[in-house]
Symmetry: C2
Subunit: 444 residues, 2 copies
């Protein structure tokens, strides 16, 4: 079978016609009065397409959502955008009317620099909540970045760095997919390490199907030179998000700022994708799914203090909602997550979490086991509610690797769901308790 896409180097500047830059304008220091910033970490970023692009977006369903999210929700409805400005160090959340004014001004400054309609400029922010944006710095930072935009890989790196907060490394990917004889490229970056359990929807409103009660700030910006209608692109992004960003959790806290944006500028000159039923749509969807999933997994692997990456696979549930609830209960249980940290195959804590989830659970039917990532060779610790003959040593060996899969079969139905989850470590607590003598160290 032909591989539908291939991974290539670079990220958001890999598709034709995209330029980017990330610069330092000292947002964090000014935002909190003192700051702990070592050196000059880039904190403002610009992404711009040479021509107007179709756009799609997914946004936090948190009822308390940041000003930049509100701006994007409205502008994405228009279906066209050309630039994205992003800052780290300040979430511009819970900043009231001033926050909205500041978010709009950020887009206006970009529009002025490039002679665009400000309606075509989107904005994202991540950082501490409740602090007004240091706009003088932000404005000069945007102007600086506007001077520097370029299509080099180095410039894409700058942007991936500029959107980082507690991330330890930039997160980037690009793929190429053939659509009707044309090479289409999709590039993406993301950030996120704590306050991570996104539950995004297209409008920020809560659809019944989006599980609630999750994540931390994650931002992802994806560019492509595909020609694809905005409404079709939105369908593709919703599907891609549902199986990637909305399936991850680091600490179970859903942020006020979670945002995914895709710009598609048509410069690959493929026949425009105008229907979800076309063959090209399927290929594009497959590639976009891969981009989003790889980015989402990078967030969990780089989660604050994370030492283990666990894929929680629930099957045999009565409904998807049941499978989802069981998977999230396990993925967010403090006791399960600390046992993962300790390399302890503690299935008792796992079945306890399943039992208090909203899923229908019959103790005597539950199977619990472990495997290497993606492997079907499962070592069971519990079979139909009874401990198996697997030795403690063998189970410890199964959960010792940095990455493993946890398999849960409720055996009461046919629905399944999975979550990409992380352990809970002393380092997470140490990092997030911060240092009140140094307010700059205090996160989102």
């Amino acid at each position: 079978m032909k591989v539908p896409f291939k991974v290539v180097s670079g990220s958001i500047t890999a598709p034709k016609g995209f330029r980017a830059a990330g610069v330092f304008c000292d947002i964090k220091r000014l935002g909190t009065g003192k700051g702990s910033q070592k050196g000059k970490k880039r904190d403002i970023a610009l992404i711009i397409s040479a021509v107007p692009a179709t756009v799609a977006g997914m946004f936090t369903t948190n009822q308390v959502c940041a000003a930049p999210v509100k701006v994007c929700v409205e502008r994405v409805k228009g279906g066209i955008a050309q630039a994205i400005v992003v800052n780290s160090g300040n979430a511009n959340a819970c900043t009231g009317k001033q926050g909205m004014k500041d978010a709009l001004e950020m887009t206006s400054v970009v529009a002025d620099q490039f002679h665009l309609s400000k309606q075509y400029v989107l904005v994202g922010s991540t950082g501490r909540i409740g602090v007004t944006m240091p706009m003088e710095n932000v404005k000069s930072g945007i102007k600086d970045a506007a001077w520097r935009v370029n299509s080099t890989t180095e410039n894409a790196n700058q942007v991936a760095e500029a959107i980082m907060t507690s991330d330890t490394k930039p997160k980037q990917i690009a793929v190429e997919v053939q659509l009707g004889g044309k090479t289409v490229t999709i590039g993406g970056i993301c950030k996120g390490a704590g306050m991570i359990q996104p539950g995004m929807s297209a409008t920020g409103a809560r659809p019944a199907a989006v599980p609630q009660g999750l994540h931390a700030t994650m931002l992802s910006f994806i560019t492509t030179d595909a020609a694809i209608q905005a409404s079709v692109l939105q369908v593709a992004l919703e599907e891609a998000t549902a199986q990637s960003f909305n399936r991850i959790t680091v600490d179970g806290d859903m942020s006020t700022n979670d945002t995914v944006l895709v710009l598609a500028n048509a410069l690959a000159e493929n026949d425009a994708i105008t229907s979800v039923k076309s063959k090209d749509f399927a290929a594009f969807q497959t590639a976009l799914n891969y981009v989003c999933l790889e980015l989402a997994k990078m967030i969990v692997r780089d989660g604050e203090g994370v030492s283990r990456f666990v894929t929680v696979r629930v099957n045999g549930a009565k409904t998807f909602a049941d499978a989802d609830s069981a998977a999230r209960a396990v993925a967010n249980s403090a006791l399960v997550k600390t046992s993962w940290n300790g390399g302890d195959p503690n299935w008792g804590r796992i079945i306890d979490a399943i039992g208090y989830s909203a899923a229908t659970v019959v103790e005597e039917k539950v199977d619990i086991g472990y495997s290497a990532p993606g492997s079907k060779k499962i070592i069971l610790s519990l079979k139909r509610g009874q401990p198996t003959k697997s030795t403690f040593k063998a189970l410890c060996a199964a959960v010792a690797p940095k990455e493993f899969d946890l398999h849960i079969n409720l055996n009461v139905g046919k629905a399944g769901a999975l979550m990409y989850a992380a352990d809970l470590t002393e380092e997470y607590v140490e990092f997030n308790k911060g240092d009140v003598t140094d307010p700059g160290s205090l996160g989102g």
Copy 2:
């Protein structure tokens, strides 16, 4: 106004006609093959009334519930009991048919020792899940305890110690209340430190009104010499639990074993309370509420690794369910709890958690503030969604004490709810990740 009750010394042996004992029978060591038990911590306990008593109970709503819980749910329906046997070190949960056989045998051994109907004997367990009970030790332990039962305060202490797992101290209280000229005494003990967010109901079934998705094992045993009908006692216990044990969280994990039992043996010779409308019922309820609330708070204060005790008070919600959801979201947020640990008045994380709760929230209406425990002198950090002029230093001072109240007003309705919550510390993680080279160190 006359104080309706007074605190007295002692606990479960303070009411007339109750004897108790706690002994060591090495349950933990045998249960896990190696064990880390230092010294000989008491691990089996007996409580017995001189005469049959009316009984009431509240039980975990976890769908995966331990054998002793199943036994109690059935026997409490009969309305009469005379003895309770409890072990620590092994939860007897997820132990299948053997576990049920063992739980029943524990009650039979007690019945034999005291020539009781085994239907009058209740049983509780707490400890590691999924390990079969070491019944030879348990049986000899019960017989040993049966020899030693006595009504001294020292014997009550033994029981409070014997039910401990990760608790650092025994938890006990007793009060006296005057009912129709007779002095009625209520004594209680409890245990619990991790896997704590109970959501108990009278039958273990999930009523819509019991919030789900919570706790860790907590056990509480309450004795009284009051004369009170079993059905009326059940009403009183449900009310008392709703405002105490069901309002606490340490780590958000609901246990398979949560149990509260009350025995009332009528030896105080008060006129039997046969209606919830009587004046004596109101006085009894007030005293029982106090006993349960003080015991519940002891659990949170002694929670695993806990350094701060926070009362989360949500008001102005549209419904109680909304207030409850917002309070639990805040009380269980990893980011909020780590900020409490750091002494950081991080209202951004608090409003983030409120925003992703199931409560209806309008950002522009939310007030957030702090006070000393029970004080109405609130320092606001957020007023109608806007940061106040309170300085960072003043807010830090408000959250520096070991105990404080967090006040949240959603200002969209009239309903309220509170939660007694704890911070999340490195010590919690260190304790719960355990040491797989020493399985005896691995908790529930």
